[in-house]
Symmetry: C2
Subunit: 375 residues, 2 copies
Amino acid sequence: MSGIDLAVTAVDGRARTGILATPRGDVRTPVFMPVGTAGTVKAMYPDQVHALGSDIILGNTYHLMLRPGAERVAALGGLHVFVNWPWPILTDSGGFQVMSLAALRKIDEDGVTFRSHLDGSVHRLTPERSLEIQALLDSDIHMQLDECVALPAERAEVERSMRLSLRWAERSKQAFAGTEGRALFGIVQGGDQHDLRVVSAGGLAAIGFDGYAIGGLAVGEPQEVMLAILDTTVPALPAARPRYLMGVGQPDDIVEAVRRGVDMFDCVLPTRAGRHGVAYTRFGRLNMKNARHADDPRPLDEAAGWPPARDYSRAYLHHLVKSGESLGGMLLSWNNLAYYQHLMAGLRAAISARQLDDFVARAKEGWAGGDLPEL
Amino acid sequence: MSGIDLAVTAVDGRARTGILATPRGDVRTPVFMPVGTAGTVKAMYPDQVHALGSDIILGNTYHLMLRPGAERVAALGGLHVFVNWPWPILTDSGGFQVMSLAALRKIDEDGVTFRSHLDGSVHRLTPERSLEIQALLDSDIHMQLDECVALPAERAEVERSMRLSLRWAERSKQAFAGTEGRALFGIVQGGDQHDLRVVSAGGLAAIGFDGYAIGGLAVGEPQEVMLAILDTTVPALPAARPRYLMGVGQPDDIVEAVRRGVDMFDCVLPTRAGRHGVAYTRFGRLNMKNARHADDPRPLDEAAGWPPARDYSRAYLHHLVKSGESLGGMLLSWNNLAYYQHLMAGLRAAISARQLDDFVARAKEGWAGGDLPEL
């Protein structure tokens, strides 16, 4: 029995909207999942994240296995209890952070050995251990361990890595067998090679997963490369199952991927950008460090429905960011997540109304139009 | 016309409770004023600070004059608008931070010249300029510029400084004359010299202020020295006017000062300690970095009425603090301010019920009893 079930309620072109039912609650798709890296969506209270319309968050297996440790989280009642988030959680496999953060990593057929970036201690992840950790964390959606190559890369290297990920997918399916009430997603690899992506998608579909992620994108390639890969990959995936584009992305990336049939997204951008003084608005990205905001009494966007965009002046946000005050990151992270979830709600409504093209055109017009005129 | 009016509603021994009416709202006394150093009570949303029962916050003239600048705040509508806090605000004179933070400070009869700790730029504060800045900020209660000597100090130095502060008090009163709807407080100095404190208090009372602060305490002296100075100083102040003990303090300091007739307090401790991993509870101060919390599923205090003490495990708080996650400082600052305001509400209710001694005895018993037994 799969732990999740996708009910598509409307389609518009290749885009679709629906409900992903999980034992811990329904997830409205297309969905943006805020990233709760080390057990916290940074600079946000959990109930605040939920109130913005976040039906599900992501937890990073790599961070949590190193600190506080998966066995400890399990003894404390699991990740939901630990982080005070009773709603659905997806955990990644840990593989991506091993590649990007850990020192002295060494991949072999069986798994990957690496040193913690925190204290240099040696750890090992295999497909089986990754799922064991995710079971200890008790997340609702588990991801298979995969290998992700940075682009550009040689075709032979991309193919080797994709085939390794496919063998790990098979082992993950076997290790997961018998798990009740939880879901397992396979991950399509194949870099920028269209035929390899189709091979990977077909291989995963043959194994059979509760959902399918598309990995190895948004790793430095131009947007048109990513979108072309989506054009090839999405149709090769089982239509009845959710499709998840990992680590994406900018609002424009999300909109274009939704158009191509993607259901799920995660990205650190809204919270990371918020901590670095960047605000996402319907006018595009605003750098609040910019001196032009220093004397501006206007809010970020008086038409927005969320307090950080409405109740604080740009001058104050500029002051907070320049002064390194934590409230700056708190307000901008809140604004950015609110903007992202507002965008997702708009996409869902537009698909339901079969007006996605109009919605996207208006959103892009707003981003391209630039900010309010200077005072 | 004074901008404020104190109505004492009950007394218990020398302690008193009442309402300090200001044009921007009533302040329940004894009151603890959270410190909004640079225009933000660190790691807290303003409406959250207010919801904890904070009727008034403090703003630091030194920080705000340097960044974003008093004239800029005035052009943006004043400090209340700038920081999104429509309720009362007290501003200090800037003098204390000049002494503790600025470089190359030089005091003369007329004022103090110093270099900004931010960029080395040269600034000057006089009694008149401090009040001009506070008028630009448009705070509700202004403080006179004073000089504060660190203890221990020679009597001659304490007396010289006290008499300078008294002359600055006279100039402050003249500069403030004609201001409508705002209040000006004088500041008693005199270090640990009881007779000098009485001279200072008498001198200020002769000038006539809307309220009287006791400065130059909690600067390193033992608690019994501070309390003895309060025993001498408070009776020398006009009973109809509020008494404010600046920069104090630990919960035990506040309780003892309330017993001696003090009405107002401010301190960075609850928020600063929160950012450094320390929780204030009815069991006393808990260092959440301590490894004994790492596996403890219990909340800080399940009997507390505020979410950070009730809805998150000690293990999670420990994890957040150890990981340097901003949510750790957010939750502990919130808890600590909630605890402080809960304590103040308890003190007010106890005075009203003429049961202050019982209340204080129970509070001290809690702090002395130590934490919950280890698991």
